[in-house]
């Protein structure tokens, strides 16, 4: 028996495939998996930020969306978002923040065998803020992932803007992270994420965080989370984000 045949034989000893460990392995970062054609996931995020700027703005957001597989590489999300906000300048309030549509495109095959190690991915979204009648929010991200054995890494670069008539606010966001398979269902890792004003905003809104992450998949359910520890302009309360979804 040649070495290659022996390796194949060894690989075949585990004859039932492991569950995929989560469509996203990260909290703040976008990942590159997509829902199979005509598949649907109900996806939800819970985000918490406590800023250290002069107004001590805090924000807790809930993002909820059905995510629909248009093809094996393109999916459509229809998010609705709620927010709780508080700062030194305003009273606490909870409100329906925005709704919209988001298109995510994985640029290479999603097949687990044929997919290359490097996977590029693009997402674009347009959203309607509820509280501003003549405004729109647009955002987009370029994502690149790399997978090798148990290791999975991503890098994100994105931009988002509040588009008003003559009063636009543009910001950028970026980050990178790594996730390591611990068991068939569990992954652990870490990630770095930050946001920076580009035009029309204030540097008080800039922030950077780094922290551990995990993802866990069980059957049709997956969850991923990150607990961002303040690096710049984020209070010690941190910046956690948790995402979870159920597939149908």
């Amino acid at each position: 028996m040649t070495r290659s045949a022996a390796l194949v034989a060894l690989a075949l000893i585990s004859l039932e495939g492991a569950a995929h460990a989560g469509r996203s392995h990260f909290g703040w970062l976008y990942d590159t998996e997509t829902v199979p054609e005509r598949g649907v996931e109900l996806e939800q995020w819970l985000t918490d930020q406590h800023r250290q700027g002069p107004t001590h703005a805090s924000e807790t957001g809930v993002w909820w969306a059905p995510v629909i597989g248009i093809t094996d590489q393109v999916e459509l999300a229809l998010p609705i978002e709620w927010e709780w906000t508080k700062s030194d300048l305003s009273s606490p309030r909870t409100f329906l923040a925005r709704y919209g549509a988001e298109l995510r495109w994985r640029l290479v095959t999603s097949d687990p065998v044929d997919a290359p190690d490097w996977v590029p991915y693009v997402r674009v979204a347009i959203k309607k803020p509820i509280t501003e009648t003549e405004a729109a929010e647009v955002d987009g991200d370029l994502v690149l992932s790399y997978t090798q054995c148990r290791w999975h890494a991503v890098a994100n670069v994105g931009v988002y803007g509040d588009v008003h008539t003559g009063d636009d606010v543009w910001s950028t966001r970026s980050g990178a992270g790594v996730s390591i398979e611990v068991t068939d269902e569990l992954r652990l890792g870490g990630e770095l994420y930050g946001e920076k004003s580009l035009a029309g905003g204030s540097s008080d809104d800039d922030w950077v965080t780094v922290g551990p992450n995990l993802s866990w998949t069980h059957g049709r359910f997956w969850v991923s989370a990150s607990y961002g520890i303040g690096v710049y302009n984020i209070a010690t309360a941190g910046a956690p984000r948790i995402k979870w979804a159920v597939a149908f």
Partner: protein, 224 residues
């Protein structure tokens, strides 16, 4: 557990005996296969696959088809050469979601409707169990073999594999739900027939899970 052992046996049978170079001027392997049911009585052997291991060959360009029709895969047992692609057209008026959790070749084709076709390549030898995520009664097995020397058993229980390279190889017979593959050593000489007989025992169809690794729940509730 029995299913895992069986698949291990079949997979090992496929990959054991390393890819040797085929020798020119081969002969034929011919013979018969008998299949007994789980009650020990003979049953129809038509469609069982006989294959040889011990040498490798490149895959042909042909793209075999496994059709989803009347909530079944047709055929439900296919042998191909590693590197070949299989087409999975949906001929039913309902959606199907073809998938495999087999480590030899995991995939998920998503749900697609009548008239649509998806293809999947099978680059490495092994046993691939294919199911529908919507209809648990749909099951097929793909034998991804290291060479082209395999044949389907005819209605009279006979088979013939031509152009087999000279040498001593292991012949296997397999059918869906077989308790284990039948095997025998066969020596092929140039221009001659090597005759073998293989006895295969068929068990019951093993239970399987959906693409999420869960049992199918209330299977009649949401399907046609």
């Amino acid at each position: 557990m029995g299913g895992r052992v069986l698949k291990l046996l079949v997979a090992a049978a496929i990959v054991i005996a390393a890819p040797a170079h085929a020798h020119a001027g081969g002969g034929r392997v011919v013979g018969t296969v008998t299949v007994t049911g789980d009650d020990g009585k003979p049953i129809d052997a038509t469609g069982a696959i006989v294959y040889l291991t011990g040498f490798s060959e490149p895959a042909p360009d042909a793209v075999p088809t496994v059709v989803q029709k009347n909530k079944h895969f047709v055929p439900d047992l296919v042998a191909i050469t590693a590197g070949q692609t299989i087409s999975f057209p949906n001929a039913d008026p309902i959606l199907h979601n073809v998938f495999s959790r087999s480590a030899a070749r995991p995939f998920d084709l998503g749900s697609y409707r009548r008239g649509d076709t998806k293809e999947k390549s099978f680059p490495t030898p092994g046993v691939v169990d294919v199911y529908c995520n919507i209809h648990p009664e749909m099951a097929a097995t793909i034998l991804v073999l290291p060479n082209r020397k395999f044949a389907r058993v005819a209605a009279d229980g006979t088979f013939a594999i031509a152009d087999v390279p000279v040498g001593t190889w292991t012949a296997y017979a397999f059918t869906r739900a077989a308790i284990k593959p039948a095997q025998i050593k066969v020596t092929v000489t140039a221009g001659a027939d090597a005759t073998i007989h293989l006895d295969l025992a068929r068990g019951v169809e093993p239970a399987h899970v959906n693409k999420y690794g869960e049992k199918y729940r209330d299977p009649g509730k949401y399907r046609d």
